[in-house]
Symmetry: C2
Subunit: 473 residues, 2 copies
Amino acid sequence: MRLSLCSALLLLSVPATAQSLAPETAATAAALRDSAMQGTRAFEIVRSLTLETGPRPAGSAGDRAAVEWGVRKLKELGFQNVRAEKVTVPHWVRGAESGEIVSPWPQPVILAALGGSVGTPEGGIEAEVVQVPDVAALEGMDAVTAARVKGKIVFINRRMERAKDGSGYGPAVAGRGRGAIAAGKLGAAAVLIRSVGTDNNRTPHTGAMRYEDGVPRIPAAALSNPDADTLEGQLGIAEKSGKPVVFRLKLGAHLLPDGESANVIGEIPGREKPEEIVLLGGHLDSWDLGTGAIDDGAGCAIMIEAARRIGELPQHPRRTVRVILFANEEFGLSGGRAYAEKYAADLPRHILAGESDFGSGRVWQADSRVAPEALPLFDEIAKLLAPIGVERGDNESGGGADLSPLAPAGVPVVGLSQDGTWYFDWHHTANDTLDKIDARDLDQNVAAWAALAYAVAEMPGNFGKAPEPAPRR
Amino acid sequence: MRLSLCSALLLLSVPATAQSLAPETAATAAALRDSAMQGTRAFEIVRSLTLETGPRPAGSAGDRAAVEWGVRKLKELGFQNVRAEKVTVPHWVRGAESGEIVSPWPQPVILAALGGSVGTPEGGIEAEVVQVPDVAALEGMDAVTAARVKGKIVFINRRMERAKDGSGYGPAVAGRGRGAIAAGKLGAAAVLIRSVGTDNNRTPHTGAMRYEDGVPRIPAAALSNPDADTLEGQLGIAEKSGKPVVFRLKLGAHLLPDGESANVIGEIPGREKPEEIVLLGGHLDSWDLGTGAIDDGAGCAIMIEAARRIGELPQHPRRTVRVILFANEEFGLSGGRAYAEKYAADLPRHILAGESDFGSGRVWQADSRVAPEALPLFDEIAKLLAPIGVERGDNESGGGADLSPLAPAGVPVVGLSQDGTWYFDWHHTANDTLDKIDARDLDQNVAAWAALAYAVAEMPGNFGKAPEPAPRR
C-alpha cells in the first residue's frame, strides 16, 4: 500500500480512527435526522430541476440548462463557493428511430438506440433475426452456429429479474454493454436486446454500450419488454413452420463533436478544518428519454437538501460539506474523472465521499469502504440511522459510479443502499419522471445523509485510507 | 311501444318469459362454467391475434390481416357458417407527431393525436397555452375570458379517477369527445387534453374525438399524464412571474378515403331453432398505438372460446350461438351499425346479445336489459354465475357499444361487468399489449359467458322485448 505523505501524517498524528463521536455530535446528528423525517425541500428541488430543465443528456441544451439551474439553485439555497467547473463531454444524439417486424406478421415495435450506438444507413437495415438467450451464448458460440449469425440481426433475449437490491441488473446489463462487440465479431448486421428493465411498459430502456477497436461497429437498440415478447413470440411460432422472422431497423443515432458541461459545486464551509471535505454527490445529467427525475434528479436533490440542512445549524461542522452535481455520469463518467484529476492533490483530505444515484427509494442499508481500523467508528455512525430503518452493511461499497475515480487515492466511501424494487421499471426510460417519486421517501434519504454527513464533518477522527475496492462481480 | 308482428307472436304464443330452466340445462351450464375455470384456450387465442396481426385500426393493413385471421381462426376452431361480411370503414391515420414546450423551459413532451383529429400545418402550430379544468369550463366561459382563448392552445387538464366499475371514464372522456368543438368555437388554434387514463406512464391515451359542422376543425391531442403534469407544473410556476407558456404541436394526422373491413361471423348452429340467435360479440379492430390485447382482443377471445366450448358439447343447444367480431368499433361503430342494418328483419329472433369489451378483468356483476316480465328468468340464469363471484346487477345494461344499434329493435342484452380497476391504465395506449392479460382471468370470463350463453340457447323461454335503454348519463 502506498500512502501519500499527507494521509500518512493524518493517520499517525493521533489514533484518529479509534476516536468515537462526542455525545453532542450524536445528538445533533439525530436531531437533523428526525427533523428531516418531518418533511424537507428535496421533492421541491427535484421538481424544479425536472420542470425547468427536462432531459439533460451530456452536451445537450438541457444539460446546459441544468448547469445554470444548479448554480442558481445552490446560491438560492445559501451554499457558498458555488461554481461550475468545466468538463468536456461526448455529445451523442439519438435522432429518429424505428423498428418493425417485416415478416411473417408485420407490425411496428418500439425500441430505443443504446447510448453510443452508431446509426443505420438511411434506409435502415433489413435482415433475418437470430435469437440468443444472453451475450455469453453469443460469445461462446461454436463456429457452425456462429456462421449463421453473419449478416443477421442478433436478438439478445435476456430478461432482468426484480430485486430490492437491484442485483438483477448486473447479469442483464452485460448484453447491453458487450452485445454489439460480441455480435460485431461474428459479422452481425445489428444487435437488438430485450430492455434491461423489470417493467412491462412500451418504454424501452436505453443506457451506455461499448465498441471495441478492430471490431465492426454495428447499430444497437433495446426493445421494450412487450416488444421483446412479440419478437420472441413470432420467432417461436415461425420456427415451427421454418419461416424466418425479418426485421427492419432504422437508427438516426450519431456522435457530434465534444460538448461542454460542468460539475456544479457548492459548499457548507467547515468552521475549523475547511480544507477537509465530506463529499456528497449526485449527477446532473440524465438520459435523453425521460426527465431524469429518479436518475439522478432525486440523488441531486437529496444531497443538496441534506447539506442545506447542515448549513442551517447554529454552527457549521468542523469540516466542509461539499455537494457535487457531477457532469455526464451516464455516458462515460466525465464529471467524476475530471473531479478526481482536478482535485488529485486534495484527495487525502477527503474524509468521506458518498453518492446518491439509485432513485428515490428508502435507504435500508449503510455500506462503507473505510480503513479496517476505522470500522468501529463507522459502525457507531451507522447506528445513528437505525431508527429510520437503516441496517449496517459491509465494508465493500463501491460508493457510486462518479466516486470510482477516487478509489486509487484511497478516499473512504459510504454507500446508502436504497430500495430498488421499482427502480428498474423506470431507469433509463421515458418513464423516468417526477410522478415516480414519493416525497416522504426523499425525506428519509435526506435524514440519513444529513445525519451521517454531519457526524463525519464534526467528528474528531477519520476513516483512514480505504482499501482498493473488490473487483466488480 | 311498437312491437313487430314477429316478436308480438313470440311473446303471445306462450308465457315464455315465465318458464324456468330445466334442471339438466342448469347442470350442463354449471359444467361448462366449472370446466372453463380449469383452463381454456382464450389466452392462446388472443396471443395468436396480437402476434399475428398487431395494431389493427379500421382500414389499415393490420385490420385486413385481422379479418383474415378471424375467418381462419373460427374455421380452425370448428365454427360453422364462417364468413366475413363487408363493412365500409373510415380510414384515419396518425402520421408523425410531436410536441414540445418552447418556453419558458423548453422540453419535449409525449402526446398522441386523438382519433379523427386533423393535422397541423407542416411546420406545426406554436402558441401560448391556456389551461382549463375541464371541457365544461370551456363551454361555460364568459365572453371576457373566452376572448383570451382565441389563437391559443387550450389545455383541458381533467384527471381521470380510478374505479373498479370504470365510472371515472365518463366524466373525463367528455373533454376528449367535445374538447375540439368547444375550443374551436372560441377560435382556439388547437386543443390538448390530459390523457383519459389512470396510469402515470409516458403512453398517451388516444380515442375518438368529434367535430361539429360550422365549427373550425382544430387539431386535438392527448398528453400522457406525466407530460400533462409537466405542462401544469410549468404553467403554475410561470403564472407567478407572468411568463407565458408557449407550446409547439405537430400532427401529421389525416383521413384517407374510406376503406373496407368486415364483421367476421361464426356459428354453433342450434339443433332445434337455428334461426333464433344468441349473439356473442367483441370487436376486431383496435387503436393504432398498441396491439389491442385488452381492447378488444380479450373480448374476441373470450367470446370465441365460450362459443367453441358450447360447440363441443355432445349436442348443440336448441338455438344458434353466433359469434361476431365487429369491424371498427373504435372510430364510429361501423360494424355494429352494418350488422343491425343487414339483419334488421332477423332481430326479433335475437334472443339475447352480449359483448365483451372491457379488457380482461374478472366478471363481478351480471346486468341485463330484458322485458320486465322476464326478470325472474334472467335472475335464475344469473344465479348460475354466483359460484364464480358474479353478483346480479340491474336491468339497465347498455350491453356494449356494438350492440347499441340493436336497441331500437328491442333486442335483449346482457352486460357482464368486468373488474376495470387497471383497464384505464392501458386503454387506447401503446401499452395495450398481451402481457397485461392474466390467462386465469380470461378463463373466468369464458366460464361466465359459456354458462350464460348455453342456458339461454337451450332454455324454452325467452326474454321478450327489451325496453329502450336509459339515456346515457
